[in-house]
């Protein structure tokens, strides 16, 4: 199985309530809360696609899109 690579963080700003759980739980400090108190990926290049933010988001507002080595979206 090839390693998954981040393609994008889809963050639903309408659903995000800005609790900061994703920011605190990200092991690589990828996410921050922006000026509107909404989650934002400020350092996507550091993302290891562990999906911790996606699974821990109480607002179901984050989706981590990955692709495999051949660029196929997952």
């Amino acid at each position: 199985m090839s390693k998954k690579k981040l393609k994008d963080h889809l963050i639903n700003r309408d659903w995000c309530k800005g609790c900061g759980i994703c920011v605190a739980m990200c092991p690589k400090d990828v996410l921050v809360l922006d000026g509107d108190e909404k989650a934002m990926a400020s350092h996507p290049e550091k993302c290891i696609a562990c999906r911790q933010c996606e699974k821990m988001c109480p607002d179901l507002a984050i989706e981590v899109i990955t692709e495999d080595a051949h660029g196929k979206e997952e």
Binding site: W15, G20, I21, M25, K55, M56, P58, D59
Partner: protein
């Protein structure tokens, strides 16, 4: 991830407070159902009253939002009437173990194939942060300004003693274990209970100076260990997570089929 196939998007953003652990339970539940690839038409979610119980409106299953404490009794009717349906019952700690305590132990006793998720945030959130049967001694609540003197239940031991054939516990911090345990509970053929520690930063956290949602999640991380961990020996106060009971026992609806067979022979 096709999470959105299993939720009713038009009701989002949901009504829970920022940082509420119940959203993480919803997240884990939807993930578990998706991974099991259950036909949505064969899924019924039955809930009672309270913050936790609003979960039923957000999932695209057959949903039955009932009265306080009685969700398992409604669910028993659904399941026995149509046993091929998967029945999941999310409940708050007050819903499941206070007003609904009797239904909880009797559903366990019958070992009817229903999945009970006890979303334990140790408070009555919907009514404004009163103490619950799971608050425990020494807790501040809007009905315990001088702090509580009531002991808490051990939900796992209660379910075990009452006869549940699958009993597990985890927290919303341990999200991978959360969806794994929900999956196992749904697949299990009998009454299954998953107690899930969930944070209420708005009332319990604030009243008891536990900080915000993130701080409360860290408490779940620090105060719990996997079953069998050596850490528990050094620190008996740690709460164990994992599967406490998993056994095969006659399931109620299947046993009832035998009653029908006996009646027809007689």
């Amino acid at each position: 991830m096709a999470v959105k196939e299993y939720i009713r998007e038009r009701f989002f953003p949901h009504m829970w407070c920022p940082g509420c652990g119940h959203g993480i339970v919803l997240n884990g539940l939807v993930r578990a159902v998706e991974e099991l690839a259950i036909n949505k038409n064969e899924l019924v979610i039955v809930s009672g009253i309270g913050c936790s119980s609003r979960i039923s409106g957000y999932v695209d299953f057959h949903s039955l939002h009932t009265v306080h404490g009685r969700a398992l009794a409604f669910a028993t009717g659904v399941k026995l009437s149509k046993p091929k349906l998967n029945v999941i019952v999310p409940m708050g700690d007050g819903d499941a173990l206070s007003i609904g305590g009797n239904h909880f132990i009797h559903a366990a006793r019958r070992n009817i194939n229903i999945t009970a998720l006890v979303m334990n945030n140790r408070t009555y959130g919907m009514t404004g942060g009163q103490y619950s049967p799971m608050s425990g001694v020494g807790v501040k609540a809007t009905t315990a300004p001088y702090s509580t003197i009531d002991n808490a239940f051990d939900c796992v031991e209660l379910a075990r003693a009452a006869g549940a054939s699958f009993v597990a516990r985890t927290t919303v911090y341990h999200v991978n274990q959360l969806s794994e345990l929900i999956k196992k509970a749904i697949v299990h053929d009998g009454f299954s209970v998953v107690e899930i520690f969930s944070q209420c930063p708005t009332y319990f956290g604030r009243k008891n100076k536990q900080g915000g949602a993130v701080d409360m999640l860290k408490i779940f991380k620090e105060k719990t260990v996997l079953i069998g961990s050596d850490k528990k020996k050094d620190n008996p106060a740690l709460m164990e997570r994992g599967i406490f009971v998993e056994k095969e026992l006659p399931e109620y609806c299947k046993a009832y089929d035998e009653v029908i067979a006996r009646a027809r022979k007689a």
